[in-house]
């Protein structure tokens, strides 16, 4: 489903990784682990089209998306610090991708309401993003990405910064939510327990470069 073929990426003049390859089957969930600075986030950004490649190709299914701009790749991403739109309500954040892709209003409302229910935020639709707790903001970020129904979802340390009990509860919910949808997922984390619980396969990023 997702094929990263021999890509190389530099930030300024420093090469972050060289000839890196990774392949995921449809619906597979892979956790990427590795020390800080090993390029995990950079790899996600490269897959999303947010980071130019020096070399290599990226395929989604049989489609070469290497030169396709981010907004046409159909790859969703949950950012480490959520990046919610602070000028919009929770509802508007989740509705965003549906609105810009021209989904009609009735269908949008239904899908956002359904997504709010799935992430356990039924009553918080009209809140501003500044009124959310850390856990609620994470749920909104996940819901916002899932409602767009991406073929590939990138999770960049989605549970970082949450304390023990909340972390575990959200991890359980996230696991159920993404597995029920059968999405292909690349998940970046420092936490091996989180990786074991969420993914089908754990990969050390350092093992991916030739």
């Amino acid at each position: 489903m997702l094929h990263v073929a021999d890509i190389s990426v530099s930030l300024d003049t420093i090469e972050i990784f060289h000839d890196l390859s990774l392949e995921l089957a449809t619906g597979e969930i892979v956790s990427l682990v590795g020390p800080s600075g090993s390029g995990k986030t950079t790899l996600l950004r490269a897959i999303a089209g947010l980071q130019p490649l020096n070399a290599g190709k990226i395929f989604v299914g049989s489609r070469d998306v290497t030169e396709v701009p981010t907004y046409r790749r159909g790859i969703g991403m949950v950012f480490q610090d959520n990046q919610l739109f602070s000028h919009m309500s929770v509802f508007d954040n989740i509705e965003y991708s549906l609105r810009i892709s021209g989904v009609n209003k009735i269908s949008r409302r239904q899908r956002v309401a359904e997504m709010l229910r799935l992430v356990g935020l039924d009553d918080l639709g009209q809140r501003t993003t500044m009124q959310l707790s850390g856990g609620e903001a994470k749920r909104v970020a996940v819901a916002r990405s899932l409602v767009a129904e991406p073929s590939v979802l990138l999770l960049d340390e989605p549970l970082t910064g949450l304390d023990g009990e909340l972390h575990q509860r959200l991890l359980n919910d996230l696991s159920v939510l993404i597995r029920s949808r059968g999405i292909t997922i690349v998940h970046v984390t420092h936490d091996h327990n989180e990786a074991r619980q969420l993914s089908d396969r754990i990969v050390d990023i350092r093992s991916l470069s030739r």
Binding site: R45, A48, G49, L50, P69, T70, Y71, R72, G74, I75, G76, M77, F79, D81, N82, Q83, L84, F85, S86, H87, M88, Y96, S97, I100, S101, T128, T129, M130, R144, S145, A148, P150, L154
Partner: protein, 530 residues
């Protein structure tokens, strides 16, 4: 928004005392004096039915709207480049675009008089161009400050949700900037609606704003009651606009974190955009300034340094007045006194507003009053109130720094207040747990965090004083003329050499204010480049 958790809450009433007294004595009292002396229903009806007044009102309004729209359009590309990119010459460009705003309006008017062909002198086009030039900095500073705080990761997030660059601009950037665009538009509208110096130089007898009409009626026609009616009307319009501005500026969209982001242009297209827009903007700013200098060495018989020799040799102009260079030293003294007065009163006011409760927070409206009053009305009020009787301050040297300080006070408070409010509670709490008294806490924590902003506000107050023309044109006498009043006086005289001397003084003022700005910009904290 007031700081209820502040440990300085108890000091707020004492801090509020000085600015309250200053504004009451030097703004409110003169205003009451104007209106109570001269206002009557007969005068109001006479002014309301006067065709000339209606024309003045219509012209003031539409030229202000047109100037605002043109300024937003012209300044937008430069704002984008300065907010989103790091590039060679950025700090210089930022200082450059700020120069027109702190230049005396008389100098801006003179620059366009020198730049434009004779056919465009005393035309609407000249006025709109000069207003646009003058106000570019408002958009760059107000909208740009907001724009540089929008994280590029927000745009990335929108991109991964399927938003194209144009959709991101429409749905993320513009709504996030909307409040600052509205605020900038309100400020530009206010400045153009009350435009005085530019209209005096470029408008000619056929075009007057309310501000110019107030001056004409009060000083040239002796119609004090008519001037008072116009002042009252202008006060109502500006007061409403100010109230709206203060309330909308509190409603800005909160950003996840206050940090600035700008990137190095990383491909040829971005470099072309950045350096193309920067170069064009720099040319737009610099060319009128160069023209002022060129005119200072043009005396009709080709290029000549005669005007510079006359000014720097400190000779009289031959018009029965004192040497023009004297105005330079007088202006400098006024600027220093203004910086001290406005700095002290502004710091006290900002502290009272930030540390006090909701009630003391209303002081913010009071200290913004000089902005809504307009410099001309302020000058008129001070002239009437302090010109006779037991408090004859008009002949005193301090009168002009007082007037300039009142004009500068809103700027000082607007510069200081956000900085004082942004001091984190956490470090004050940490200081308290380490045994610091509120006074020690303020001296060791707050003072160090706000000192840069205070020095910046002093510099702004000094620069405002150097360029102030509205109040000065009422209060200065031949022996106490400031640079702007001297420039306007010389420009109104015939003769190439006399006019060249006006441009010499304007050149000196430009150089002085440019140096001021470069120094102030050096006080800004560094940005975070990503």
């Amino acid at each position: 928004m007031t700081d209820k958790r502040s440990p300085y809450h108890a000091c707020a009433p004492a801090l509020a005392l000085l600015p309250t007294c200053a504004v009451t004595v030097f703004v409110l009292w003169p205003l009451v004096n104007i209106f109570s002396r001269a206002l009557s229903w007969d005068v109001i009806s006479r002014m309301a039915t006067n065709v000339v007044i209606r024309q003045v009102l219509w012209f003031s309004t539409w030229q202000a709207i047109a100037s605002t729209a043109i300024t937003l359009l012209v300044a937008f590309p430069a704002t984008y480049v300065l907010a989103r990119f790091q590039f060679i010459g950025k700090r210089m460009l930022l200082a450059l675009v700020t120069i027109p705003f702190v230049l005396p309006t008389v100098v801006v008017g003179a620059a366009f008089l020198a730049l434009l062909p004779d056919s465009l002198h005393r035309s609407v086009v000249a006025i709109l161009l000069a207003h646009t030039y003058f106000n570019i900095a408002v958009v760059v500073r107000m909208v740009g400050r907001r724009w540089e705080q929008i994280s590029p990761l927000i745009n990335d997030a929108a991109g991964t949700l399927g938003a194209s660059p144009f959709t991101i601009f429409r749905t993320i950037t513009v709504p996030t900037l909307a409040t600052s665009i509205r605020s900038a538009a309100a400020v530009i509208f206010l400045l153009c609606f009350t435009s005085y110096g530019i209209i005096r130089i470029l408008g000619g007898p056929a075009r007057a704003t309310l501000e110019v009409e107030i001056y004409t009626r009060a000083i040239q026609l002796g119609d004090l009651s008519g001037a008072a009616v116009l002042s009252l009307f202008q006060l109502l319009v500006l007061g409403s606009a100010m109230w709206w501005w203060i309330h909308t500026s509190h409603r800005s969209v909160p950003l996840a974190r206050i940090q600035t982001y700008s990137a190095v242009p990383h491909n040829f297209r971005q470099r072309l955009i950045v350096y193309g827009i920067s170069t064009t903007t720099a040319c737009i700013i610099v060319i009128p300034l160069i023209t002022v200098f060129v005119r200072s060495v043009s005396t009709g018989a080709g290029l000549s340094l005669d005007a510079w020799r006359l000014i720097l040799g400190n000779h009289a102009t031959g018009l029965g007045t004192r040497p023009p260079l004297g105005a330079f030293w007088i202006s400098l003294q006024y600027a220093i006194a203004t910086a001290i007065l406005a700095g002290v009163v502004g710091l006290a006011a900002s502290g009272a507003i930030a540390y006090g409760g909701r009630r003391i927070g209303q002081l913010e409206i009071l200290v913004m009053l000089p902005l809504a009053t307009s410099a001309v009305t302020l000058g008129l009020g001070l002239l009437i109130t302090f010109d006779s009787g037991i408090i004859d301050l008009r002949s005193r040297w301090i009168m002009i720094p007082i007037a300039h300080s009142l004009v500068a006070l809103p700027v000082v408070v607007r510069t200081m207040l956000p900085v004082i409010r942004s001091v984190p509670h956490g470090i004050r709490d940490a200081s308290a747990t380490l045994g610091a008294t509120p006074w020690q806490m303020w001296m060791t924590v707050d003072r160090s965090l706000i000192s840069r902003a205070w020095v910046t506000s002093l510099a702004f107050a000094g620069a405002i004083s150097l360029g102030e023309f509205g109040a000065s044109s009422f209060l200065t006498r031949r022996t106490s003329a400031t640079l702007p009043t001297e420039i306007a006086r010389l420009l109104a005289r015939p003769g190439n050499l006399v006019q060249a001397q006006a441009y010499v003084l304007a050149s000196l003022l430009i150089a002085f204010i440019a140096a001021f700005l470069v120094a102030v910009d050096g006080l800004r904290p560094d940005r975070v480049a990503v």
